[in-house]
Symmetry: C2
Subunit: 359 residues, 2 copies
């Protein structure tokens, strides 16, 4: 396990901050652009030597583009499994990049708002990930990065198609816009949640739970993103999400208010039980932890739990995951050991004191 992982696992990306006025519902905003380099086959058809050569070129291109000294590049070829899990849990790399075989890596800024994957499905995938609902800022930042790189790297582009990508669905802008929303109140009222699923489907937006589209997400954290990009401009992709999201936000907030008035006892019970669970369990799975953190997050934003900070809860959504727990402890752990470590982390985080003496 890489020595830097321990320190690295103790912090999380700035995209988990909770400073914006929409943070009660919108956790984060993400834009990614898919780019490929002229003169190289797509990743799926590259030989190892070509991949290594391109990875070197891209790493140098990125680190030399003047994005600041806090940029770091991690090669995934020799990285440990815990390192890859950690990067995945921080949303810095994809499952595809983690599981790849060729020379590949990720560059990212210190606050982790900018990330660049090398030799994923495309040669380069640029990501900007910001806290709250921030489409405009994300767009202006990713455009600047894209332009800075384009002045140094020859991206594959045709006037009639736009940017060329490995998968035809990405051709054109190569852009995907997505927003992570927390919909715990809608999650309690199935009928209302269905309306949101339907609205998203009608506007060509995908709504993904943990187990794919249209399924209930663990902790009611959903990714809403654009589906079709071919033949669309960047502006129209942004405006699709920009139009629907305020409705989702208003809808979730309205149901929260209704529940507070009409089902207050049920709501308080659910929230306090979750809080009690997080402060007392001696062993807890990732799913149960996230479901409980979700309820406590709702309680914090409704003012029912006054001594819990939403930022703590956002951090924990990442810190309770297996890679982070193993990096914290400094060694690989089996699932039962992780469940015990996770419970200890949660008790510490909520000031529930140290674990009891062991026999």
């Amino acid at each position: 396990m890489e020595p830097f992982l321990k320190e690295f696992s103790a912090r999380v990306g700035a995209w988990l901050e909770t400073a914006t006025t929409e943070s009660d519902v919108v956790v984060s905003t993400r834009i990614r652009l898919a780019r490929n380099v002229e003169g190289y086959p797509f990743v799926g058809r590259m030989r190892e030597t070509q991949a290594a050569e391109l990875a070197d070129r891209l790493r140098e291109g990125i680190l030399g583009a003047g994005f600041g000294k806090d940029f770091r590049y991690i090669s995934l070829r020799e990285s440990s499994r815990v390192c890859r899990d950690l990067l995945l849990e921080r949303h810095l790399i994809s499952r595809e990049l983690a599981g790849g075989k060729l020379d590949r890596g990720v560059a990212f800024s210190e606050p982790e708002t900018v990330g660049l994957m090398v030799n994923e499905e495309d040669h380069l995938r640029i990501q900007v990930l910001l806290p709250g609902f921030a489409l405009d800022e994300a767009w202006s930042r990713i455009s600047a990065i894209d332009r800075a790189l384009e002045s140094r790297i020859d991206f594959a582009h045709r006037d009639d198609f736009g940017y060329l990508t490995a998968c035809p669905t990405n051709i054109g802008t190569g852009m995907r816009v997505s927003v992570m929303v927390h919909l715990p109140a809608l999650g309690l009222v199935e009928r209302e949640m269905k309306k949101v699923f339907n609205a998203a489907a009608k506007t060509n937006l995908a709504m993904r739970g943990l187990h794919g589209e249209g399924t209930r997400a663990t902790g009611d954290f959903y990714q809403i993103s654009n589906q079709v990009t071919l033949g669309r401009s960047e502006e129209s992709l942004l405006s699709d999400l920009g139009r629907i999201l305020p409705h989702v936000l208003t809808f979730e907030r309205r149901v929260r208010e209704e529940l507070t008035k009409e089902s207050r006892a049920m709501l308080e019970d659910r929230i306090w039980r979750s809080y009690g669970l997080l402060r007392n369990a001696r062993s807890i799975s990732t799913d149960e932890a996230i479901t409980s953190l979700s309820a406590v997050r709702l309680g914090a934003y409704l003012g029912l739990l006054t001594d819990v900070q939403p930022s703590t809860l956002n951090r924990l959504l990442v810190l309770v995951q297996p890679g982070h727990l193993q990096a914290k402890v400094g060694r690989e752990l089996g699932p039962p050991e992780r469940d015990v470590e996770r419970a200890a982390l949660l008790r510490d985080s909520f000031g529930a004191g140290a674990p009891p003496e062991r026999a």
Copy 2:
């Protein structure tokens, strides 16, 4: 609702004390004697006027027997439903007495270790209920009461049968001996629990859970009692239970020790989760409360939870029940209201502070 119920509901019987060395497993010991009065038909065949006359006679007989000034008689004919529930939950009356139609009542001592039901299935049912495992003391106390009453009341008795009772299974001694045991460790290991069920069946002892014989009891609180009384002497009935109970006790303690060593993480997790639930829930059913109290009781006796007193837990087993909650509040409550009151009582009892402000 009777004015005395509020004060009455705040305390519990002395049989819930936890001073004996067997209190970790044996909650209480109970002996009851069934007696009928010469010259009156059995209760099932009595007219209303006869029942009223007999109830008067027995009340006077009991209160005048010199058992002490702290004896109280409650007539159930005009008592409220909450009052009857309360007496039932305190083990002072049976379901049969609570639901009767004729003039009937119960006399009991202030610490509630002695109780006498009038016009239940038999004219008189005498009960002694003591904390812990106390067969000898219970027997000597109930014998003294029986003798004192017999000197004033003409009990139906035949030299060949013994005491006559309404139900043939009680003829002879009219005695039932039972012990309430808490078997939470055995409850966690089904295979071991089955051995106890089998051992009880082989020695003609009945083992009753909440839902009848041989079923899993809520919170793993079981009543072990003698089955057959006809043709048996008091001494042999006592010795049946006196012989088997130490084995049950040893068995439960051994499994507790094994679990502490071999499944400590699971055990701690279960206990702390229950504790967290009791301290945080805003609404909780009787069953869930008792199941959680059971786990916390185990934790207290294993020294895993050091700031919880077993006596508090025993008291709560009674205080969380519907009659007690309604008497405490001073009015009838529907089930959802009771669940909220129960949760509030539990939070208060475990020092988890007052409920949050209501909107």
